[in-house]
Symmetry: C2
Subunit: 326 residues, 2 copies
């Protein structure tokens, strides 16, 4: 039975973020994926699931989530008896641990959520590119482009030579001057394409370009600052595990951890020094399983069932830091 926490079947499908594709398309895609998965698992597609737990990016706003659930219930009565929707951050955390921790997402955008052992949550960021997205791929790309504009304008002196970044910008965006960038900011703005420039900057940083390295160091600082922002609300037991504070890192920018490491560790060391004495150490980990697993667990929990997960098998610890001067 499902209460062993075994994966019976998996499938994937297109984007379900209702902010991006609309509610109609979102619920159709979800229904299609679940019905295909039932068949794969040898279940009757006409029998509703007991509970469908989902971890969705864009699963933040109560009213919108309520609407999504109502829509699914009305349009697809054979889909599931009950529904539970969590954000991607919460779903990821639930996949990694039963005792909470901090999840820091840095993909196209950025976001941070503290999940306490008692289930209470505190967030920092996640408001999108107009209100920050600090430390994300969008932010890194934006910082680089802005440095080129500010240098050409003589408005702000660049912290390092802009030659590599300017050339990379012209290549990536296929422009020959700054004016050519305007459609990329406005008429044809696509956040994911703009953020994709980050990959070229990671290459530059790895090849030794000082401006690229500087921006990634700043990104590391800002991602750590998200953690420091929620730290005062963390319950004591989060600090007492053998791994120290568990920090789950999601999103492609974490692939550039080595470039962000110095900035990231510096900010956490400062936080430790400035009063967070119970921060004896921390561990950074990534998921090696889908965060849908945690979403399913929370869905089961919502109807009083328990899905036991093998948390250790779900995560991969890639960095451990212990403050030895405690």
């Amino acid at each position: 039975t499902a209460t062993t926490g075994k994966i019976l079947a998996q499938t994937d499908g297109p984007c379900t973020n209702h902010w991006l594709v609309g509610v109609d398309k979102s619920v159709e895609t979800i229904n299609d994926m679940v019905q295909r998965t039932k068949v794969k698992a040898g279940l009757d597609p006409d029998t509703p699931l007991h509970s469908l737990g989902m971890s969705l990016s864009g699963g933040d706003q109560k009213d919108a989530i309520q609407k999504l659930i109502e829509e699914m219930g009305q349009r697809f009565p054979k889909l599931s008896q009950s529904y539970f929707i969590s954000t991607d951050a919460i779903g990821a955390m639930a996949t990694a641990s039963d005792c909470g921790g901090i999840v820091v997402i840095s993909g196209t955008g950025s976001n941070c959520k503290l999940v306490n052992p008692d289930g209470s949550q505190v967030g920092c960021g996640g408001w999108g590119h107009m209100m920050g997205d600090e430390g994300s791929a969008f932010w890194i790309s934006h910082q680089a482009v802005k440095a080129v504009f500010d240098a050409k304008d003589n408005f702000v002196p660049p912290p390092h030579d802009i030659t590599y970044v300017k050339k990379a910008m012209e290549d990536y965006f296929q422009v020959s001057d700054l004016m050519g960038m305007l459609p990329h900011f406005y008429r044809n703005f696509q956040k994911s394409h703009f953020a994709g420039f980050c990959r070229k900057l990671a290459e530059g940083a790895s090849a030794g370009d000082a401006l690229c390295q500087h921006i990634f160091t700043q990104a590391g600082k800002l991602l750590a600052k998200h953690i420091v922002a929620v730290l005062p609300q963390a319950q004591q037991t989060l600090f007492s595990g053998e791994l120290g504070l568990p920090i789950l890192c999601e999103g492609a920018v974490w692939g550039s951890w080595e470039l962000m490491k110095s900035g990231f560790t510096e900010v956490l060391a400062e936080a430790k020094a400035s009063g967070f004495h119970h921060l004896r150490g921390y561990s950074l980990m990534t998921l090696c399983k889908s965060s849908a697993l945690g979403g399913a667990k929370l869905g089961a929990q919502n109807v009083g069932a328990v899905l036991p997960l093998d948390y250790q098998a779900n995560v991969n610890v890639f960095y451990r830091h212990s403050f030895t001067n405690q």
Copy 2:
């Protein structure tokens, strides 16, 4: 005749920014306004003007301007024999002076242009809200909203209490929490509406709110930084007039000059101290005539004619600063 520089007739009409309304609508609006003005001035609407000089916001990009002019020539052969389009900044400067100066626009967005006595130009800013717009109404509104978000997130401590700004934000945008702001940043984003929040912040600053005052001081610094950015390219004679460096201030944010004054004057004093010794003083002025006048003058100039303007009557000096310790 027109070479006296007398205004024969004036009219107005809707937005002509081709980036906003499209080329078709832009040229139709221009044609309609000019034809109405010909009739008002007692001229035959079927006789083309000798030259139509225009000062247009969005008149920056050569290719786009060329397209606009071709379109007008083809669709409206009775409009004018020749065309000359300058940006709003250049048109404003041409209205204020024949010897150049620096124009700093701070309205919804911000922009700065140095026009040298020999006609050469150097710009700083003007790239829109995605790439700065520092010191503009958009920027001021954004700084205020961002301070509220950062404070609620515990991400960045606000420089001053956010109570007034938070309340003003909730009133202006008609929201009850931060989540409610998201449509104002994304789905329903309207730059001019977002920037309109600046008026409430000016009210707050005038009533003594420290956070509002702080943001306006920063805006003053950043507008002055635009000037410092172009200063190295300014020709000597710009500094030698009796008014000192002439700075033409355009846009509604300059109505809050008293709120920006301390930041603005501080940055120029620093520039003076740090090496711009020939900056013996400066004068801030606004236009009391339309910048279309300067656009017309440049249009006449373009066909070898001279439109003499009474520059002193076109401007109003509202602040003079002289560095006495030279």
